[in-house]
Symmetry: C2
Subunit: 235 residues, 2 copies
């Protein structure tokens, strides 16, 4: 089975002894989701945890006033839905496939087993949480201190790093992203995002399109993000 070899090669599992890996793999169930389908829903009892094998997911949370926030994008190889690690019994967010996706799932009941019996998995889970914590804090800092245009610059650069694909002319965001999505990542409105991207497009920093984004000039985007250059709105 090609799938097994593919999983074996993920950094997440690369350090497991072969016997352990076989046992962990035996407990897993694979499942496919078409773009637009929901993998797990905010508030539901967390019966499974997952690894994304292929595709792309968007994790959102809805506030009490039903405003949506995009918590993160899940890329292939990422662990998600680990409610147990957050001391929760329900999923804190909704994971939706934005491209056709394949996930591997384990019953949440096995979480403690895995963490206790396979130290290298525990380590790996901790690393995942560490990375996420740092990213959450970085976004917190941005939201607290930066103006919208800088936040949008950081958001698209992050998308480029985590979900980008090199392409003639720049870095293509490798899944459909709407202005609304970018707005929900940066705490602004789609209107403001539209104005910003239009200005950037005129300046040759990006090329947009419906749910498409190509980063043409990472350096200047980084300058805007770091506030070392005025920003192109308000002219």
């Amino acid at each position: 089975m090609a799938e097994k070899a593919k999983i074996r090669s993920l950094p997440k599992f690369a350090h497991l002894p072969q016997g352990d890996f076989d046992q962990v793999y035996a407990a897993a169930a694979g499942r496919s989701f078409a773009a637009g389908a929901t993998v797990s829903e905010q508030g539901d009892v967390a019966t499974y945890f997952f690894v994304l094998l292929d595709g792309r997911l968007r994790v959102t949370q809805v506030t009490a006033e039903s405003q949506q926030v995009i918590v993160r994008i899940v890329n292939p190889g990422d662990l998600f839905g680990i409610a147990k690690a957050l001391q929760r019994t329900d999923y804190p967010g909704t994971a939706t496939a934005v491209s056709d996706s394949v996930v591997l799932s384990w019953p949440m009941a096995r979480w403690s087993d895995f963490m206790g019996n396979y130290p290298s998995m525990a380590m790996s889970a901790m690393q995942t949480m560490g990375t996420r914590l740092q990213e959450a804090q970085a976004r917190m800092r941005e939201l607290a201190t930066e103006e919208v245009e800088r936040r949008v610059a950081h958001a698209v650069l992050r998308l480029g790093e985590q979900s980008g694909r090199e392409e003639a002319g720049g870095i293509r965001i490798d899944f459909p992203v709407s202005k609304q999505d970018i707005a929900e990542m940066t705490g602004t409105t789609l209107h403001t995002v539209s104005r910003i991207l239009t200005a950037w497009e005129h300046a040759g920093l990006v090329v947009g399109g419906q749910q498409k984004l190509l980063l043409k000039d990472r350096r200047r985007l980084a300058l805007i993000g770091d506030g070392e250059v005025p920003g192109l709105l308000g002219g």
Copy 2:
């Protein structure tokens, strides 16, 4: 030694077998810091990790433009400075004592030992990170979607829960908090915080003072925080 018993009783160590605890404790060094002193500094090589025994710390990060953000408040019993868990070799923030404080420290080199050899410590560290991750995401959501007055309401309520002491008339924040501090927790300015707290004081929700704060009406503060009531500014 009374200190040892006290540490033993922390939730963090309560589940360790006695032998393990003795070994962990033997590796620790205690140290005291006067209010205002720096325990660990952003950017420094992370040579130790810590548990706070007594007092209160404020963890800040400084942005490239030297704006400060308060990442969190460390309360007695909390683990902090765990750079290794975040895959870092330096401290991501500065920890400053806001009250006279006592910390226990371990060489960072022992981190992997501890995590590998004492599964209950690894579990506990993971729980810590889980809690922090959730709190960071909650603050992200607030910063992205809520207006300033609501964010300030949430911030003071959090302070009350995590660092409050029951007192005749309400909940006293148990360490010196300035308006500037609250501003740095909520991504606003001390001016706006001052205006908000003044309005709240007139309405009988809180009692302020220089670096003092007493929460008198948690219920109404929660209503403001949840946006179920208009907010008292702008009248």
